[in-house]
């Protein structure tokens, strides 16, 4: 079984947003929401955390007209040719993800890709996020 990030206990989220900030720290070396691959929103009586599902056959990669996004072995995607994203106007990768888990980096004009590092799960106090075998 490959190791991956999964949302294990969605309803336990308190919106401490530690995952959001440590993610931006890993990806870009700063603390921010806009550089993070994770979003939290209100949902019913609680909160909903949205992360990349690490799909085996990712719709976002299939939708990429420039072959910039490629499926990664073990699930999810990697961004191989980010310079190709700069001229992409419609962002089909973002629209292709039904979960809306892909975010857009306005400054660098490319999608923000989850690198499956698992740091977010390490700092999740309620095991909403879990990094391990997908059972």
């Amino acid at each position: 079984m490959p190791i991956k990030l999964i949302v294990k206990n969605q309803d336990r989220c308190m919106n401490c947003a530690t995952c959001v900030f440590v993610c931006s720290r890993e990806l870009r070396g700063v603390l921010s929401v806009k550089h993070s691959a994770i979003r939290i929103s209100r949902s019913g009586v609680g909160f909903k955390v949205t992360v990349c599902s690490g799909c085996e056959e990712p719709d976002c990669a299939s939708a990429c007209p420039y072959e910039a996004l490629k499926p990664r072995s073990g699930g999810g995607v990697e961004l191989l040719n980010p310079e190709k994203c700069e001229k992409c106007e419609n962002r089909p990768c973002l629209n292709a993800c039904s979960l809306k888990a892909l975010q857009w980096d306005d400054e660098r004009k490319r999608p923000i890709i989850c690198i499956e590092c698992g740091v977010c799960a390490k700092f999740c106090p309620h095991e909403v996020l879990y990094y391990g075998e997908d059972v």
Binding site: M14, T18, V30, K34, H35, R42, V45, P125
Partner: protein
């Protein structure tokens, strides 16, 4: 720490940024920054409701960086105490301010019509009309202004109708679960015709030495989550106090006439958590989840017609609207809290006034002509009606209630407030009373006298030693307030940890210079108080405090007098040191 302060003048709608990096380096941020700005900007003797009274919202240097740090400091001149207005709120505000690129936001002037302010990073400030939000509760206002798809951290603060009506202890709701609860910031916003402020932090916070910062972050995170130092706040939350205090006869009951409540079990943290708790909320980067929330459902007609709302519960509102009003039904306590929240009233001061009114009515000092409904210990329905009257002020009596004053000075000996601020729920002993009296914001959180009383339970408390200990505690707490540390995490952030965390993000302090920062912040708070007419000799301790036995027995008025004399001299020394900076 870029040092940028955002100024907004509501009179002409203009906004600008001033860089005060030097000041931030000197005082860290938070309450140190806020009190410096307040002393600079607030004209001597200003009417708290005048446009010139500034509202300062200061973030702290740890906010958005370290776990359990999210306390934003509000400062202004208070209509309730007549001098320093100071209140601290959790929630997303401080992080949003920093992610928008600022250390603090200062609001001056007043609008001619009701408005709300929209602040975004890169300098975008827009003042919008708020006519459609008039008389709306804080939570509905926040829901109306909230943007779900924002790609930044968004925080919204809003007042309810009590703020629009200038109730002297109107509060400000922050993000739905947190409050600037005390000393009347809501009324000052109301006087500026300011319904709400929305801040969207779309920027970033960077740290020079990322690896060192990550190590310190993890160390603090582990302490917060695993050490047990914050278990109380995580588990039952502050309502854990109900049974603890009741057991030592320190739970104020029916306007401090008693120190224990027969129905304490029913309104205890244990009862709420076991039977009613539905969720916990928390602040950015805080894994604790101290905000305990229940879904309060009520049937409003036959055939099980039902309405439900979320209500938070904490110790202080449980004491203020529960035991101190003789209300022993937990659902009634929640209903009272919900009404205060909807109107935007500080639940603590509201409880203080209702308790006073009930006793004044009981003693025949006031009658139905004044109160319009019959106040009665334990009768929540009557209190709900009275709370509405406090918000609308239909007669002279309720005008005085809304100002936090005893009507025609009747029964002032049992209006349980010090320095204008209603007492918190700890009838623990001498240290609590001295602590509230000398606390710069007359709050139990200023210096935790209640905690000292409990540590010294059963022993004789020397008033002079108590002053010494309380001043030491309060000046240290000022350091934590400058950083933005939540006081619930005070055991995690000891001096060693604060120094390590500070120095990792680019400040350069040692133990001595750090302590000095706290003393200076405290001294500057008192500088403001003295400037605005605060005098120790005018500080009245209500007689009731000396009549009811505390957990440590009867408090002697001579001890309090002695303590205040000693404290005054010491505080004046601290002011001198702070002013010399």
């Amino acid at each position: 720490m870029n040092g940028d302060i955002l100024f907004i003048n509501l009179t002409d709608g203009l906004s600008w940024v001033e860089n005060r990096r030097e000041l931030v380096d000197k005082c860290i941020g938070g309450s140190g920054l806020a009190i410096n700005l307040l002393n600079e900007l607030c004209p001597d003797g200003v009417d708290p409701f005048a446009p010139e009274n500034p509202i300062i919202l200061a973030s702290g240097s740890f906010i958005g960086l370290y776990p359990a740090c999210s306390k934003t400091i509000a400062m202004f001149k208070s209509p309730l105490t007549g001098n320093l207005g100071e209140s601290h709120a959790g929630g997303k505000l401080g992080a949003a301010i920093r992610l928008a690129g600022y250390e603090a936001v200062v609001i001056i002037g007043a609008s001619s019509k009701l408005v709300w302010i929209d602040i975004r990073d890169n300098g975008g400030v827009k003042v919008n009309g708020a006519s459609s939000l008039k008389k709306m509760g804080g939570l509905n206002t926040i829901m109306a202004l909230s943007e779900s798809s924002s790609c930044g951290l968004q925080s919204i603060v809003a007042i309810g109708p009590a703020g629009e009506n200038f109730v002297y202890y109107a509060n400000v709701l922050v993000d739905g679960y947190n409050f600037f609860g005390r000393t009347g910031l809501g009324a000052v916003m109301g006087a500026k015709n300011l319904k709400a402020v929305r801040i969207t932090g779309g920027g970033e916070i960077s740290v020079k030495n990322l690896d060192a910062y990550k190590r310190v972050f993890e160390k603090i995170y582990e302490e917060v989550v695993k050490s047990g130092k914050m278990r109380k706040y995580h588990d039952l939350g502050t309502p854990q106090n109900v049974l603890t205090l009741n057991q030592i006869k320190a739970l104020p009951t029916m306007n401090f006439k008693l120190g224990y409540f027969d129905y304490a079990e029913q309104i205890s943290g244990e009862y709420f958590a076991d039977n009613l708790l539905t969720r916990k909320n928390t602040c950015p980067l805080c894994p604790i989840g101290c905000k305990h929330v229940v879904i309060l459902r009520s049937f409003f007609a036959d055939e099980h017609e039902v309405e439900s709302i979320e209500v938070g519960y904490d110790y202080e509102p449980i004491y203020a609207l529960g035991s101190n009003l003789g209300v022993g039904n937990p659902m009634d306590v929640l209903k009272l809290r919900a009404v205060c929240d909807r109107y935007g009233l500080d639940a603590m001061m509201t409880g203080t006034m209702l308790a006073w009114a009930t006793e004044a009515y009981e003693k025949g000092l006031i009658g139905l002509d004044e109160t319009m409904v019959e106040p009665k210990w334990g009768n929540a329905e009557k209190y709900i009606e009275m709370i509405k009257h406090i918000m609308t002020m239909p007669n002279e009596f309720y005008l005085s209630m809304a100002q936090g004053k005893p009507y025609k000075n009747l029964g002032e000996e049992f209006l349980v407030a010090i320095g204008g601020n209603g007492l918190a729920g700890y009838h623990t002993g001498l240290a609590f009373i001295i602590g509230t009296a000398i606390g710069a914001r007359h709050s139990h959180l200023s210096n935790a006298g209640y905690s000292l009383d409990q540590k010294l339970l059963g022993s004789t408390i020397n008033p002079v030693n108590a002053v010494e200990a309380l001043l030491k505690e309060e000046t240290w707490r000022c350091v934590l307030e400058c950083c933005g540390v939540c006081l619930f995490a005070r055991d995690v952030y000891d001096k060693h940890m604060v120094l390590e965390a500070l120095n990792t993000i680019g400040f350069n302090y040692d133990g001595e210079s750090l302590e000095k920062i706290g003393r200076v912040a405290y001294g500057l708070k008192y500088k403001f108080k003295f400037k605005e007419g605060f005098k120790f000799q005018n500080l009245k301790i209500p007689k009731r405090i000396f009549e009811t036995a505390t957990a440590n027995g009867i408090i002697s008025p001579e001890d309090v007098k002695k303590a205040l004399t000693v404290a005054e001299a010491k505080i004046k020394e601290i002011v001198k040191e702070a002013t010399a900076q």
